[in-house]
């Protein structure tokens, strides 16, 4: 476990340095939510916890919840039908909720990170695409794992929209990036 953590730290450091030129300094505490009720926010929360970073996750975060000491809002994209079924919501309602939360965060001077951390499994249908588009267009920084960018979609997106891109090995390495 320790060896793996050290290896991950190394990989994460490499990943961040490769793209660090355009990336603003990320500052916690973080508040994390999901646009599509996939477990991405829980994963970021757990990875941050393991790295000793304060990152609260709230899958039903509203604009009213974006307050307090938080410096950065992370919104994960990609949808889960099971997750949305569990929460009694749909992709349109999710996009509406997250857009309002992002607007509130920007108004409060927070940095907004648009994330995609669950790989190609969350890039399969039109709901995923809608969630990704809604989150990324308003994000200050794009954060993805390598598996999510297998086809270069996010690299191209970040280039086209001139947004800083942080690309990391996998979800477990996120905590180190947020440090």
């Amino acid at each position: 476990m320790k060896k793996a953590a050290i290896a991950l730290l190394f990989v994460a450091a490499l990943a961040v340095s490769a793209f660090a030129a355009d990336v603003p300094k990320l500052e916690g505490p973080y508040i994390v939510t999901t646009c599509g009720q996939s477990p991405g926010a829980v994963m970021i929360g757990m990875s941050a916890k393991q790295a000793g970073v304060k990152a609260d996750y709230n899958n039903k975060l509203t604009a009213d919840d974006v307050k307090g000491d938080y410096k950065t809002l992370i919104v994960t994209s990609g949808t889960s039908m099971k997750g949305m079924g569990a929460a009694g919501t749909n992709v349109d309602a999710e996009i509406d909720r997250c857009s309002k939360a992002i607007a509130a965060a920007k108004k409060a001077g927070m940095t907004v990170i648009g994330a995609h951390v669950e790989g190609m499994a969350r890039r399969t249908d039109s709901s995923d695409a809608a969630s990704i588009e809604a989150v990324m267009k308003d994000a200050d920084v794009v954060l993805v794992v390598i598996d999510s960018d297998n086809d270069g979609f996010f690299t191209k997106y970040a280039e086209t929209h001139k947004k800083p891109l942080i690309k990391i090995k996998d979800a477990l390495a996120i905590g180190q990036v947020l440090k």
């Binding site: 793996a4 929360g45 997750g83 079924g85 929460a87 009694g88 996998d170 979800a171």
Partner: protein, 387 residues
Amino acid sequence: MNLKFVKIMTLLAVIASTGVAGKLFHEHRSFREPVVAGEGLSSVKKLGDYSKSVAGTINDANVYIFDSGVPGGAILIIGGTHAEEPAANVSAQVFTENLRVTQGRVIVINRINTSASTCTRLGEAYPRFFHVKTPWGTKKWRMGDRTANPLDSWPDPEVYIHYPSGQNLAYMDVRNLNRNWPGRPDGMLTERTTFAAMELIRAEKADLTMDFHEAELEYPVENTIVTHQRGNEVAAMTSMMLTSQTFDVPIGMEFSPTALHGLSHREIGDHSDAVSYLAEVAEPMLDRIRGITDEELLMSGRDRFVMKAGEHKLLYAPIDEKGWPADKRIARHVTTVMTLLQVHNMLHPDRAILVEGIPSYAEMIEKGVGAFLHDPSAAPKGRVFYD
């Protein structure tokens, strides 16, 4: 042609075909699967010991209990929910045959729906048995169906109304064990089976349960852990660790929908103190677009039609010429439980479950799962059981 001659020949053909078919069906239904329990076995109970409602029925399964005697938590590992998903019951058996528990308890049911393993799906031309090569010979299991055998649970209702939610489901789902949780003592066979399993979970004070499955690559809930909301953090961490450190194909995580009833990941968590998890792995033989359906496909997970669908991006899991061999599917399930326990122990040290003797993912891939299954003819009599 002489009528009498035709009738005699017809009758002989009827007797012969009925005899051959009957023998094959009987052989499938009556075959007993040997299990060589690991050295750490404490006792073997029956599901009927927890609820009389299932005692003496075909689903009165063996319950293998590994108790360290050291206070800690308890996990129930469930195999054989859907008997057409063989990696599920073999994964459970890898635990049964190799476990040593040093803290807490591990309880394993290799075949929770034995009835479903005594018939195959109508019109699908499934093989009746599947085999795994081992250093001492070939080990054989029954290949089954998704639902219990109609010989044991019949007739099906027009519409199956799940108890206690009242949710309407398809008629045959009354025989589908993973639509019958939490069950009831006076219901149909699978309802009584899950009720007995719930009684076990409550009586043994299980902290967590794992239900093994396999799924077609056309199905979106694939290569993932589905979890009750109380297991979100453990499942997320498990998924991340396995994806980062062990598996070549990532394992995801899904939340259990609150309004979809009858499934283990929802009902066990809702009706007991245990946190319920379900693991899915890709099995190309379950895909509708597969080619020849035989034991080779079942065990190798290689199919050119499924691969072609993958090339057209019609699948939710990757597949190449290497396929999804049974060894890999089983290794993923076994390692998922081992990692789940590791994370559970980190987050709940007061209810830790420590186990030894289980092969690593790399060992199972390198040597094959057969290397970790034991010869019943060479085992001490007291350690051989039949599922």
